[in-house]
Symmetry: C2
Subunit: 215 residues, 2 copies
């Protein structure tokens, strides 16, 4: 898989003044952040170390990111790929969920166990980082599942009322599936392959959302 080279929320508005963005350079900076976190954690991360690792001037880093928290937030976001798998619309809710969660799960472990390592490296380090993980990463997983539910609703597989209820504040059905997905290694002692993702869909998600349960 490839990571996005466009960190969301920091996009250059079209027609803005200033030097044009160099996406390859930005991607190199983000890569440097991830490498440094994996190697020595969040505590030792500095803008200078990032610049040195990426082979750019420190001012170049500061021109796009005001603080290391901003930089880490974008680096974390670069590991999250919410893109809808091709052909998701065509299948059933079950097929769509398996494709979506397999995609998410692969993004969790793009290069060996890089995401786990980054997660461990930044966990508890800074409130903004914790918020980023929760708000962007966890929310992203949730949105992927929600998109499957909306598509199933359009196909008539599930009622609008049920979708609304599952997505209401305080409901825990989708959170339960996201928890298994995100913490699979700690929780299960293994990484889920496609067969494992199918078990997650069949044993947990479909029974809870009211699709076809394969018990």
């Amino acid at each position: 898989m490839t990571r996005s080279t466009r960190p969301a929320g920091r996009q250059r508005p079209s027609g803005a003044f200033g030097p044009a963005r160099d996406e390859a350079r930005d991607a190199r900076i983000i890569d440097a952040v991830l490498d440094l976190i994996v190697e020595s954690g969040y505590g030792d991360l500095t803008m200078g170390a990032v610049a040195a690792r990426a082979g750019v001037a420190k001012a170049t880093v500061y021109r796009r990111w005001a603080s290391r928290e901003d930089l880490v937030a974008d680096a974390l976001e670069s590991l999250m790929l919410p893109a809808v798998p091709a052909g998701a619309m065509a299948g059933t809710l079950r097929e769509d969920l398996i494709a979506t969660l397999t995609h998410s799960s692969a993004c969790l472990h793009p290069q060996g166990r890089r995401f786990s390592a980054v997660l461990a490296g930044v966990a508890g380090s800074h409130p903004q980082i914790t918020d980023t993980l929760r708000e962007r990463y966890i929310a992203g997983q949730r949105e992927g599942i929600a998109a499957c539910l909306y598509r199933a609703e359009k196909r008539g597989e599930i009622t609008a009322e049920r979708v609304a209820r599952l997505l209401a504040p305080g409901r825990l059905e989708i959170a339960a599936a996201v928890g298994v997905l995100v913490w699979q290694e700690d929780l299960l002692g293994e990484l889920l392959d496609v067969e494992g993702i199918a078990r997650l869909v069949d044993q947990v998600l479909l029974p809870l959302v009211g699709g076809t349960a394969t018990a």
Copy 2:
């Protein structure tokens, strides 16, 4: 709540030679470990620092724990209370699960967010620590739920076949509930109170184990 002063697996055999165990002192040492992890993480933890913090000689620490990994394993275990809540046998599966998970959840956060802080402090730090978390802590949560299922089976609320299937290797129903419980703060952005635990039981666990679902 109180933490156990008897780390399991390191119990003094009755009739063993050597000086008698001082449980209050052991508890002070374990407390020192937890405090130091919360304050500065696992990386800076040394046997000497633990001894100094607990006000004992370093030799005293080494007499009971061969390495800091052993010490951290027992410290983590001290945060896990698998005791069955009183009166659990008397109720229904739903009541038993709510009591058991409320108890577990309270143990997760005995002193403010101490457990979360310890977890963040040791995550990814050492394979033995990760194994301890998984094998003792995650397994402990799972055993608490399994005990509820066995009691429900004895009361005739759930069949033996269903219990056996839920506890078979590779099944994810119970793991899904454990995931929400253990990572509730990261996953949900909040700590579950008793009402939240009841939602976890009603929305996730009971529907998945085949008890009375309150959808």
